[in-house]
C-alpha cells in the first residue's frame, strides 16, 4: 500500500485502463456534440490569450539570441529561417503543451474533481450514464482540437513576434526575413508540430480527467489532484515531445543533410 514503486505502477495501470475506456467510448453513440462544443469553447477561452502572450516573447527571444549571432557571422539573411525553424518545430508544441496542461488541463481537473466530491459523478452513474462517455470523451476531443488550433496560433504569433523584433529593433531586412522562411524549414515540420499538439491535447485532457475523477478527500483533495495533474502532464508532454522529435528526425530527411 505504502510502497511507492507498487503505488506508481498501480496508478499507471489504472490510468492506462482509464485511457483505453475513454478510447473505446469515442465511437459509442450518442455522441455528445453539445458538451464537445461547450468544452472546446471553454478550453479555447482560457487558453488563447495566455498562448498568444507567451508566444510573442518566445519569438522575440529567439530573434534576439540569433540576431546578434547571425550579424557577427554575416548571415543576417538567415535570421528568418532560424526563427521559423525554432518556433514551428519546438516553441509551438512546447508553448501549446504548457498552455493546454496549465490552463485547459487544470480547469478540466478542477471541474471533474468538484463533481466527484459533490457525488455528481456517482449520481450520473446511478442514473445509468457513463461519465467517461458523457464527460471525458468530449473533453479529450475538444482539447485535441484546441491544441491543434493553438499550435497554429502560437506559430503565427511567434513568427510575427520574431519578425517585429528583428525588423524594428534589430534593423533586419524585412524581405530577407520572409524570403528565408523556406531555407531550413519545410512543410513536414509544421505537420509534425500539429501532430504533437494533437497528442499533447489528448494526453493533457486524459491525465486531467483521470486525476479529477479519482480525487478524494474533500476540497483539499481536488486541489491536490489539480496540482498533481499539471505536474504529471508537464513531465509527460516534455518526454513525449522528445520522443516524437527523435522519431521524426529518423523518418523525415532534413534539409541540407
Amino acid at each position: 500500500m505504502t510502497n511507492p514503486v507498487t503505488f506508481t505502477l498501480r496508478e499507471s495501470g489504472h490510468f492506462f485502463a482509464f485511457s483505453l475506456d475513454a478510447l473505446r467510448s469515442v465511437l459509442r453513440r450518442p455522441w455528445q456534440v453539445r458538451e464537445f462544443i461547450q468544452q472546446a469553447w471553454f478550453i479555447s477561452s482560457v487558453s488563447i490569450l495566455p498562448a498568444a502572450l507567451v508566444s510573442i516573447p518566445f519569438g522575440a527571444v529567439i530573434a534576439l539570441q540569433l540576431g546578434s549571432l547571425t550579424q557577427q557571422l554575416g548571415a543576417q539573411s538567415f535570421t528568418g529561417a532560424a526563427s521559423v525553424l525554432a518556433v514551428v518545430r519546438e516553441a509551438g508544441p512546447i508553448v501549446t503543451a504548457l498552455i493546454i496542461s496549465g490552463a485547459g488541463g487544470s480547469a478540466i481537473c478542477a471541474d471533474l474533481g468538484a463533481r466527484r466530491i459533490r457525488e455528481e459523478l456517482d449520481a450520473m452513474q446511478v442514473l445509468g450514464i457513463d461519465p467517461i462517455q458523457r464527460l471525458v470523451v468530449p473533453r479529450v476531443i475538444a482539447a485535441m482540437l484546441v491544441g491543434l488550433l493553438l499550435n497554429g496560433l502560437v506559430s503565427v504569433v511567434g513568427v510575427s513576434g520574431g519578425y517585429l523584433f528583428n525588423v524594428i529593433l534589430q534593423h533586419g531586412t524585412p524581405g530577407a526575413y520572409i524570403a528565408s522562411f523556406q531555407a531550413l524549414g519545410q512543410l513536414p515540420d509544421l505537420l509534425v508540430g500539429e501532430f504533437k499538439a494533437l497528442v499533447f491535447g489528448a494526453v493533457a485532457a486524459l491525465v486531467a480527467s483521470y486525476k479529477g475523477m479519482t480525487a478524494k478527500g474533500g476540497p483539499k483533495g481536488v486541489g491536490d489532484a489539480v496540482n498533481q495533474s499539471v505536474v504529471i502532464t508537464f513531465m509527460l508532454l516534455f518526454a513525449l515531445n522528445f520522443v516524437i522529435t527523435a522519431v521524426y528526425f529518423q523518418i523525415v530527411p532534413q534539409k541540407g543533410s
Binding site: 449520481a123 452513474q125 442514473l127 445509468g128
Partner: protein
C-alpha cells in the same frame, strides 16, 4: 411494485481496513427499511455497494435473479435504471438549474417530447414541493431544497428501488419531519422498495417497516421495526435509545474492562421506552407494506414496553 434485494455474505474492505464482513439481509419488496449504525461504520459504503458504485470483496447482491457485483459494465448500467438514489447533498449537477437537473435522466434515456418532459418534471417537483423553483441553480437554494430536488430527480424514471443516503443530515427537525412524511407518502404512491441510511433515531423509530443495525463491521441485527424496538440485545438497545451505557464507546467498541467497570458500578440501561406508532400516509390511506401497530409483537408473543402504540394525544390547550 417494488423489487426485492437479497444481500448474501457481502464483505468490503479498503486496503487492510475491513469496513464490514458477511452482511446478509433481504430488503423485502415494497417495504421501507432503515440501515442504522454509529458514524464511520460504512453505511454509505454499503449503499454504494448496493448500486454497484463500489465492488465488494466477496458476496452477492441479487436483484431480479442477477448478481450485481458480477454483472458486466453494460448490464450494470441497464440494471441501475431500477434504482433511484438520493445522495447526501442531493448531488445536483451544479451547472444546470433545478428543472434541467430533474429533466436530465429523461433527456438522456428517453425520446420524449419536451412538452411530455415538462409534464413529468412538473409532477415530480410538485410531489417534493418545489413548484416555482425550476429556474434556480443548486448553489442558490438551501440544503433541504437541494435534497428535495435530488429526490425529484431520483424519482423521475419511476425507480423500483429508492435509496436514501442520510436524508436527514443537515436538516432541522421540522424539515426532517416533512421529509419523513414525504418518504412515507412516496412509498404509498410508488410501492417501491426503500432503503434509508441514517443515524437519526427518530427517523428509525417512526418511519420504517424494517430496521438493520451495523456495528463493529457486522450486521448486528436486521428485522421488523417492532422486533428491534422491543429487543433487549445490548447494542441494539443502546443505539436505538441513544444511551451511553452499553457496548458502543466514543471511538468504537468499549473494551472488556470498561464494560466490567460499568457493570460493577451498577449503571444499567433504563427500561425500554414505549414503541411509538409508525408514521401513516398523510392522506389517511394505507401503504401496502403497512402492518397494524403491535402486529409483530402479538404474533411473536413479545410484550411491548408499557404505553406502546397508544394514539398520539393532541396537546390540550391550556386557557391562560
Amino acid at each position: 411494485m417494488g423489487v426485492e434485494i437479497q444481500v448474501e455474505q457481502l464483505t468490503k474492505s479498503f486496503g487492510r481496513h475491513a469496513v464490514w464482513a458477511d452482511v446478509s439481509l433481504t430488503l423485502p419488496a415494497g417495504e421501507i427499511s432503515v440501515l442504522l449504525g454509529p458514524s464511520g461504520t460504512g453505511k454509505s459504503v454499503f449503499l454504494k455497494t448496493l448500486v454497484g458504485l463500489l465492488r465488494p470483496d466477496r458476496g452477492s447482491v441479487w436483484i431480479q435473479n442477477q448478481d450485481l457485483p458480477r454483472l458486466s459494465e453494460r448490464r450494470l448500467y441497464a440494471i441501475r435504471r431500477l434504482f433511484g438514489v438520493l445522495f447526501q447533498d442531493g448531488a445536483l449537477f451544479g451547472s444546470m438549474n433545478i428543472y434541467d437537473n430533474v429533466a436530465f435522466p429523461l433527456r438522456e434515456h428517453t425520446r420524449m417530447s419536451e412538452s411530455k418532459i415538462r409534464a413529468i418534471v412538473g409532477e415530480k417537483l410538485e410531489m417534493v414541493g418545489l413548484t416555482g423553483d425550476e429556474e434556480k441553480l443548486p448553489g442558490q437554494i438551501s440544503g433541504g431544497m437541494r435534497k428535495r430536488a435530488g429526490l425529484a430527480r431520483a424519482l423521475v424514471l419511476d425507480p423500483q428501488i429508492i435509496l436514501f443516503d442520510e436524508p436527514d443530515s443537515g436538516l432541522d427537525p421540522v424539515r426532517t419531519a416533512y421529509l419523513n412524511q414525504l418518504i412515507i407518502d412516496l412509498n404509498q404512491q410508488t410501492d417501491a422498495t426503500f432503503l434509508i441510511v441514517t443515524h437519526d433515531i427518530n427517523t428509525a423509530r417512526t418511519v420504517p417497516d424494517n430496521i438493520g443495525l451495523l456495528f463493529h463491521g457486522k450486521l448486528a441485527m436486521f428485522g421488523p421495526r417492532e422486533m428491534l424496538l422491543s429487543s433487549t440485545e445490548p447494542v441494539v438497545r443502546q443505539f436505538l435509545n441513544a444511551q451511553r451505557v452499553g457496548p458502543i464507546g466514543m471511538s468504537e467498541e468499549k473494551d472488556a474492562s470498561d464494560l466490567a467497570a460499568e457493570e460493577a458500578s451498577g449503571v444499567r440501561l433504563p427500561a425500554l421506552p414505549p414503541i411509538q406508532r409508525q408514521l401513516r400516509p398523510s392522506d389517511g390511506g394505507i401503504r401496502r407494506a403497512e402492518r397494524p401497530p403491535g402486529f409483530w409483537c402479538r404474533t411473536h408473543g413479545v410484550t411491548p414496553p408499557p404505553g406502546s402504540f397508544t394514539e398520539p394525544r393532541p396537546i390540550q390547550e391550556v386557557p391562560l
